[in-house]
Symmetry: C2
Subunit: 206 residues, 2 copies
C-alpha cells in the first residue's frame, strides 16, 4: 500500500488543502504536525527548507499547488477538458495572490502599528472585495455550486481551507456577502470525508 | 482561425513565457506591447487590473502560470504522466518563488540603499545559489537536456525567459555555474521557432 506522510506545522495555511485532498481521496496518511521548536532541526532536511512536504513512498513532493494538482489528478478531481483545467488553475492562482497580499500584512512584525492598520483597512475595503468579487463572478458563471468547473474539483478543496486561513488572518468571515462562494464553501464542508476530517482535526480553521 | 492577442508591457518578465509558448505553437499572435503611459486607461479593463492577459477569440485568460500550462497542453508540451506533470509544476513554482524574491529587492524603491545592497548580496550569495542548485539537481536527474521531464516541456519554455528576466534584474548571468541548467537554456534557444522569435523581438532579455 502506498504510504503518505504530510509534514507541516500544526495549523491550517498551506498544509490544509493537502490534508483536505488526502482525506477526500480516502487514503490513510500520516499527519505529521511539527512544533516550531523542532523546526530548526527539520528545516535543512527539506528540499527548499520549507514545508509542506508530502512523502509518497520514497518520493518527496513539495510546493503546495503542484502537490494539490497532482493529488487532484490522482483522485479524479480535474476539469472536464484543458480549458476547464485552466479555469481551475486560474482560480487557485488568484486565491494564492490574495493570500500572499494578506500574509504580507498579517505577519508583518516590523512596521509601525499605524502603517499596519492602514494596510489592514485597505485589504478589508479594497483588495479583498476586489479579489472575492472576481471569484464570485466565476462561481456564478460555473453555476454548479462549485468554483470554476461544471463539477466538483481540486480547486474547491484548495479554496475552502484557504478561506479558513484568510478568515483567521483577517479575524472576520470574508465570504459573508458572496452567496455563490458561500455555497461552494458549504458544499465542500458537506462532503462526508471532509466533514469527518474537519470534526477530528486538532486545529479549527487556524 | 483562432485569434490570439497577448497584452503585456514591452518587456520580458511575465509576458515572455507566453510569447515563447505562442511562438513555439506556431500560432500567429498579436503581440500587444503597451506603454506605461497608456496603462492607467487599460488597467481597469483587465480582470485583475494586471497583465499579462491573453485573449483567445472571445475568452480573456489571465494568470501567467495557468496560461502557460494551458498553452503547454494545447501544444503537446505536458509531461508523460501525472507525476511528470507534477515535476514540471514543481519547477515552475520554484522558479516563481525565486523570481518573486528577486523582484522584492530589484524593484524596491523605498528602502535605504544600504539595506537594498545587503539584500542584493544575500540574493547573490545565498538565495539564488540555493534555488538554482535545487533546479540543477532536478535537471541532472532528468538527464534529458530539459528541466524536469524525459522530453521537452512547457516548463522549459517557462524557465528560459524567467532566467533572462532574473539575469536582467541581477545584472549578471545566473546560470554560469550550472552546467545542466545552461544546457536546458541552450536547448530551448536552439529551437527554430524560438530562435526566430528571439531574433525579431523588440526587447532583448529585459
Ligand atoms: N512555495 C512554497 C512556500 C512554502 C512556505 O512558504 N512555507 C512556510 C510555511 S507556510 C515555511 O516553511 N516557513 C518556515 C521557513 O521558511 O523557515 C509552497 O507553496 O509550498
Ligand atoms: N499573478 C499575476 C501577477 C501579474 C502581475 O504582477 N502583473 C504586473 C506586471 S508583471 C502588473 O500588471 N503590474 C501593473 C499593476 O499592477 O498596475 C500573474 O501571474 O499573471
Amino acid at each position: 500500500m502506498t504510504k503518505y506522510k504530510l509534514t507541516y506545522f500544526n495549523f491550517v495555511a498551506l498544509g490544509e488543502p493537502i490534508r483536505f485532498l488526502l482525506s477526500y481521496g480516502g487514503v490513510d496518511f500520516e499527519d505529521n504536525r511539527i512544533e516550531w521548536k523542532d523546526w530548526p532541526e527539520i528545516k535543512p532536511t527539506t528540499p527548499l527548507h520549507q514545508v509542506p512536504i508530502l512523502q509518497i513512498d520514497n518520493e518527496v513532493l513539495y510546493q503546495t499547488i503542484p502537490i494539490c494538482r497532482y493529488l487532484g489528478a490522482k483522485f479524479n478531481l480535474t476539469g472536464a477538458d484543458d480549458f476547464e483545467n485552466y479555469k481551475l488553475d486560474n482560480c487557485v492562482q488568484t486565491i494564492t495572490d490574495l493570500r500572499m497580499k494578506i500574509e504580507m500584512v498579517a505577519w508583518d512584525k516590523s512596521s509601525p502599528q499605524n502603517f499596519i492598520d492602514e494596510k489592514r483597512a485597505e485589504l478589508l475595503n479594497k483588495t479583498i472585495p476586489f479579489y472575492l468579487e472576481n471569484l464570485e463572478k466565476i462561481a456564478v458563471k460555473s453555476g454548479s455550486g462549485y468554483l470554476a468547473s461544471s463539477k466538483f474539483s481540486w480547486a474547491d478543496l484548495y479554496f475552502v481551507p484557504m478561506i479558513e486561513y484568510m478568515n483567521f488572518m483577517m479575524k472576520t468571515n470574508l465570504l459573508e456577502e458572496y452567496e455563490n462562494l458561500k455555497k461552494v464553501y458549504e458544499n465542500v464542508m458537506k462532503i462526508e470525508s471532509i466533514k469527518n476530517y474537519v470534526a477530528k482535526r486538532p486545529t479549527q480553521g487556524n
